[in-house]
């Protein structure tokens, strides 16, 4: 694993850590700008998966044999790495899941079902990804509770006065994205959590788009639950994390039943395991957790502050470069933004933009970004979205801008 030189951000060196970045697409250098969908993996993560399956693979928490001990140690070390990464108080607060979506569903189906009743309210924002809307709708429908939505302004910022007005004595849960996947807006979640807590609500933060780009400090944020996915953090797919405050996790009923989540089982009565195992029924994605631990080590080696600073530069450059293109409109102009640029091009549908860019080796996302209410807010069916990671370069942004000019040529 390599870290950048202390002075300056050595993006060339970082790029060499990601084997896929030297791939070619249609004979051109790959320009991967779909990092909000999933991020590429450094060699350290790929090697860790191979190493795990080559020398450590066994089931965890069961065998007394050597390999099971190795696998258990590797799995639990990964949990400790996540705990440090999130600055959580204890490893008991770190539950491995399949990803952000599963983490949010876990909270909805356990804390939610146990604590939300008829007439209660669940508050979300208008920026949410479908994965932070639908689980709450399902819960609200089942419990005859109400889903409330804090509106956003034209910049794509949640209107805090409106948000505060929607908090009330019936607000049981508040679920918010730290960073919007569709627009890049960074919500002031620290303040929003504090406001929610003043009304006695429990807070769930969707950290999927935040974890790869900025520090996520549980004790500073003081959120009750926090969810993120490994694959957007340069780790494997199929592994994610739910952080929850210990006293809440302790009081929650289990979600899925099965092996590993129990202490003892008889046909009369089952005693559940301690945290966090109570929420990890069945054989977990052991290699995935190990890979995630290595990904976190890699990111920490580069430095989240350095990453954030470099990505700010990329965002400023991309915003300036794309704004110069006649007919291009950037959707989402929040004052605090992650390195995501959503845009439309006059007279050209985003899918046509994406197809033409693709043939130039440039990967962007086109569509509603699993955030249809956000698109609706702007009266759009879809946008194009370029989302950056710390291995992207200004040259790639130039290639994107030139590609968009070429799109305009096709439809001239």
């Amino acid at each position: 694993m390599s870290a950048p030189a202390a002075a300056g951000f050595d993006v060339g060196r970082i790029r060499r850590d990601f084997p896929i970045l030297s791939e070619r697409a249609y004979g051109r250098p790959l320009v991967y700008l779909d990092n909000a969908a999933t991020a590429q993996k450094p060699r350290a993560v790929i090697d860790a998966l191979v190493r795990f399956y080559t020398t450590e693979n066994a089931n965890v928490h069961r065998g007394v044999h050597l390999l099971s001990e190795r696998a258990t140690a590797a799995y639990e070390n990964a949990r400790a790495t996540v705990q440090r990464f999130l600055n959580a108080a204890s490893v008991r607060e770190i539950v491995f899941t399949r990803g952000t979506t599963e983490s949010i569903n876990l909270v909805a189906q356990t804390w939610g079902r146990a604590n939300v009743g008829a007439g209660d309210e669940i508050l979300i924002s208008a920026l949410e990804h479908h994965s932070n809307i639908v689980p709450w709708q399902m819960l609200a429908e089942e419990k005859r509770a109400h889903l409330r939505v804090a509106p956003i302004d034209d910049r794509g910022e949640v209107i805090l006065e409106e948000y505060e007005k929607l908090l009330g004595p019936r607000t049981r849960m508040v679920a918010l994205a730290h960073v919007s996947n569709a627009l890049g807006t960074v919500n002031p979640v620290g303040r929003m959590i504090e406001m929610a807590h003043r009304h006695g609500a429990v807070t769930v933060i969707d950290g999927a788009q935040a974890a790869p780009h900025m520090k996520s400090d549980m004790r500073a944020l003081d959120c009750d639950f926090f969810a993120f996915s490994g694959h957007k953090l340069f780790g494997p797919t199929g592994i994610g994390v739910l952080y929850g405050k210990e006293r809440l996790l302790e009081a929650m009923p289990p979600w899925q039943g099965g092996g590993d989540m129990i202490r003892s089982v008889t046909f009369e009565k089952t005693l559940y395991n301690d945290l966090p195992y109570k929420f990890e029924a069945g054989t977990p994605h052991i290699a995935g957790a190990v890979g995630l631990g290595v990904a976190i080590d890699y990111v920490s080696g580069v430095g989240l502050d350095e990453i954030a600073a470099y990505e700010r530069e990329l965002l400023a450059y991309a915003t300036e470069r794309l704004s110069r293109i006649a007919g291009l409109r950037i959707v989402g102009t929040a004052r605090q933004k992650a390195a995501v640029v959503s845009f439309t091009l006059e007279g050209v549908h985003p899918h046509d933009i994406a197809t033409i860019l693709d043939r130039r080796g440039i990967a962007i996302r086109a569509g509603h970004h699993c955030a249809q209410p956000v698109m609706e807010r702007y009266g759009l069916a879809a946008t194009g979205r370029a989302s950056f990671a710390f291995y992207n370069t200004k040259e790639e942004i130039d290639a994107l801008a030139e590609g968009i000019e070429a799109v305009k040529e096709v439809f001239r």
């Binding site: 249609y26 007279g347 050209v348 549908h349 985003p350 899918h351 046509d352 197809t355 033409i356 043939r359 130039r360 086109a366 569509g367 509603h368 249809q372 698109m375 069916a381 879809a382 070429a406 040529e409 096709v410 439809f411």
Partner: protein
Amino acid sequence: MSSDLNELYQQVIVDHAKRPRNFRVLAQANRTVDGYNPLCGDKVTIYVRVEDAVVRDISFQGSGCAISTASASLLTEALKGKTLEDAEALFESFHQLVTGLEPSHEAPGLGKLAAFSGVCDYPTRVKCATLAWHTLHAALKGEGEKASTE
């Protein structure tokens, strides 16, 4: 523009995407069906007036990418005056063309629709090209009021 993109975005497609023909509500329609591609949000409504098993008039409305808009536009041009039997045959030929099952030179009956021959090299765009056709198919078969590519 690279040559394979020229294959996809042929002049006739770009032209129909920018200036779709028969893009209106058809007040006299006796068959109207909405089509929707949930993957990308493309929407199309096809209006048809069928009399004596002949497509007397046809129009569409909707929003979508260049491929889906041009496909709907060219469909309305191709289908006007056709018998239901011919329409069905054209649907089959078009489907084979865009899925690569039949090269365009072996489908002389497609006329301008042959412009979609490049679509088969873009698997993710096949549904864009076929949305209007699936919708039409549902309209002519009288299958409910919603057609979907899924």
